[in-house]
Symmetry: C2
Subunit: 333 residues, 2 copies
């Protein structure tokens, strides 16, 4: 008995000492706010206890769990796919935008209209079966690297946020992604990168089309019934897919504002809101509301003060940006 007791004591001591589940976070107010909220939400008898069946939390993806600059990963995928598929489509050379993509003429691409962008998305995200599309994303991610960091895209999840996902799940929270990104695109990567299964990944979507084939069935991706899961559509998607109100919401831009507001107005819980503020030009990017500002995160910063949301200052609050074992970042001098 004594030996067992000692072993248990040692195990508990070592366990406590060894593992800070949020070790990629600096010991600043942001980390302390997260920990305090989780501890109070999960401590039986606490005033702000949240029963396990209500512990649903939602995360934006682009800019919150992985970078969105200079282009979102999905747009990069679409551009790479246009290049890969171009030899089969000589007629694309006559199209100014597609021809710009093939030449890597980023100026023309950046100036493209919404309609032009939709054309590129349609060419790379519809017409194939759902299985073929998944295969294409999987092949792309193993064969392409981010040009600035030289890392594979699936090794560029933010380490502090991945730890936060783990930490929340260890405390009984169900972690969901509610993103403007394409639902099928993200689902290929979400389990491995974030430990989030496909059904808890919600994004922009179009409907597929079912048919029988000679040896089974197929679902072909179309652009029908397109739903753009951004801004005020995020709460709509949360209701549709999750069917209940989140108790915490994590985003990075004004496109996440409605999701944070919807969460904050949950009458059944003391909720938590957090915005990732991109302030770190050396280790990642500083673009959201710094000059030259993109204006991506302006209203959110204002409302955060009123509502008590946590603003993560990347530069101050994160010890690392990416997992150094996956994607070592050399700061730009």
């Amino acid at each position: 008995m004594k030996r067992t007791l000692i072993a248990a004591l040692l195990l508990s001591l070592c366990g406590t000492a060894a593992a800070d589940p949020l070790s990629a976070w600096n010991d600043t107010a942001s980390k302390r706010a997260i920990e305090a909220w989780v501890q109070n939400a999960t401590k039986p008898g606490s005033d702000t206890f949240i029963p396990p069946e209500k512990r649903y939390v939602v995360f934006d993806n682009d800019g919150t769990l992985w970078p969105e600059a200079p282009l979102t990963f999905q747009i990069q995928f679409a551009l790479d796919e246009i290049k890969r598929l171009a030899p089969e489509h000589p007629e694309w050379a006559k199209d100014p935008l597609l021809s710009a993509v093939m030449k890597g003429d980023t100026k023309t691409i950046a100036a493209a209209s919404q309609k032009g962008l939709m054309k590129i998305l349609a060419l790379t995200h519809s017409g194939m079966t759902t299985g073929e599309f998944n295969q294409r994303v999987a092949e792309w991610v193993t064969s392409h690297k981010d040009t600035r960091f030289g890392c594979r895209y699936d090794q560029m999840g933010y380490q502090p946020m991945r730890q936060l996902l783990d930490y929340l799940r260890e405390n009984g929270f169900k972690t969901w992604i509610i993103s403007g990104g394409g639902i099928d695109f993200m689902r290929v990567l979400s389990q491995k990168m974030y430990g989030i299964p496909p059904e808890q990944v919600v994004g922009s979507f179009s409907l597929s089309e079912f048919s029988l084939t000679d040896n089974g069935t197929q679902l072909r991706k179309t652009m029908q019934g397109a739903f753009n899961d951004d801004a005020t559509s995020k709460p709509v998607a949360i209701h549709l897919f999750m069917g209940q109100r989140p108790v915490a919401a994590f985003g990075n831009s004004d496109g996440d504002l409605a999701m944070l507001q919807y969460t904050a107005a949950n009458p059944d819980a003391k909720t938590f809101g957090l915005l990732v503020h991109h302030t770190d030009a050396a280790r990642e990017y500083a673009y959201d509301s710094h000059p030259p500002a993109s204006g991506k995160l302006v209203e959110g910063l204002k409302q955060a003060k009123e509502k008590g949301w946590t603003i993560v200052d990347m530069k101050q609050d994160w010890k690392t940006v990416f997992d150094p074992a996956q994607c070592p970042v050399k700061p730009i001098p």
Copy 2:
């Protein structure tokens, strides 16, 4: 040690002897087919073992988990709501269909066009907030009873199927509903009746509309973006919401055929398909392919033979239809 061992033995013996998880099923081929598939799917080393992360199974609702005759519960709810709301809408009296609903003129209601039905659905399923709608369903279910059986609708889940849901979950399967019924309607009832949380309930849906209010936010139900989750749309919904291929599918009509076909063609598993055949006029209804046949289940019976799907003959295979403690059925002589 000896006492512990004896206690453990007793516990294991009693446990085994006491609990048949499918006690509401007769000992017929249907029950044995279910048990054999589950045992083989969950036994490590078995040729047809399915890893836990792939154990997604889908159930239709109307006619599979609860009755759909003479009207679906949701249509009954809509008609009851028209009656409840009529005093606030004197103008409805001039509408032949709405006036028929108020008078209980079932003939006119039965002869209503799809357009008429959509009008009734729009009046009872849109215009209010999602919270108000949930409240209305919850109030309806506590204040109305099925006229033939005299039971509350939420006490009329089929006992054998509820046991099957439990049995599958105990064996590590994730149980999902994929139904033509309204997603918001079912979600009010699914946790309590079936142990299925809202996010695993998929049905026909329309989009809601987000807005800020004086003291928070609201989602208002609309008829925009209506998706009818039936027939070939079921695999589309499975892909959209679940994001992976099921390993088993349970339905009761030709409207479930595409879902069963999509499941059967899953290349990664030895799948299971089952159709509930309504053959029991005494304890429930016999309507699906008996004279006078509704033609609801014709193609399904044909394909079941080719594909090896299990046909549940309600009359032969089910010991009870409803839980006798909730809804005792007196057979019609």
